[in-house]
Symmetry: C2
Subunit: 152 residues, 2 copies
């Protein structure tokens, strides 16, 4: 635990990030794990890296990636021009769950959002993930909104 | 109705956008209406305009702004590197509600997201807005997620 650091992901982390996203009941149906990562993932990594308002983050224990999330910093007119932070694609390696890594990763992410002047942090989580709901509520998140999705 | 167009907002639209955001039970508590708009709104407008992945949109009936929303185009690793569209800060002028303007604005926004290669469109809406829920469900949105918020 004490050796884990949180940092912006590099292209060398991408394979491990895809593996984490796939290691999940919902993710397994949606992702393709390969070495090296498929071109679609490399393109996505480059799009994130090219956007100053996106930040792909990993928790690294030495050379091993044990967690990931993506931060988006979103400017907006509402709430007197408040910036909001948004978190997507959260995963903690099965080997490191319930050990406080997720909580430390989120505390780090909240500090990153405050440093960027965000007044609000938001995320949506599938209604079929009750463990995640408990985790977010313990961190102080309030399920005040319905999260709607539409496939295009 | 036939004279309404949908387009990217200009700075000249900002005062009307703030007025629309404030003309709402929740928004009235959060916004400051002034002419010209307060500096916080101008800064926010400039941050949106400077980000190629943000698009502030208005529905205009001649010189009158009758609706607004903000589109965000968000790159991500999950779902094989899918881009997602996100909608925030939706308002239709009281004078134009229930007249199909909202539906046309959303159809326009969906087309804009498809044109940018987004595979998914998402939004959150306060659980205290049942009329909005019916509107989104009629458009095909599914309330599959909990929407969590945390004040920073």
């Amino acid at each position: 635990m004490d050796t884990i650091i949180f940092r912006t992901a590099t292209l060398a982390d991408l394979e491990a990030i895809v593996s984490l996203l796939a290691d999940d009941a919902l993710g397994a149906l949606r992702e393709t794990v390969a070495s090296p990562p498929a071109a679609c993932y490399v393109s996505a990594f480059q799009a994130i890296a090219a956007d100053a308002n996106q930040r792909l983050v990993v928790a690294a224990d030495g050379d091993v990636i044990v967690g990931t999330l993506q931060l988006s910093f979103i400017p907006g007119i509402a709430r007197r021009g408040a910036w909001r932070g948004q978190i997507e694609a959260v995963r903690i390696a099965a080997s490191h769950r319930s050990a406080g890594v997720g909580q430390r990763l989120f505390e780090w992410a909240m500090a990153a959002c405050r440093a960027r002047g965000c007044q609000l942090l938001q995320l949506t989580t599938d209604k079929g993930r009750p463990d995640a709901h408990r985790f977010y509520e313990k961190l102080g998140f309030v399920a005040s909104h319905e999260g709607y999705k539409l496939a295009l």
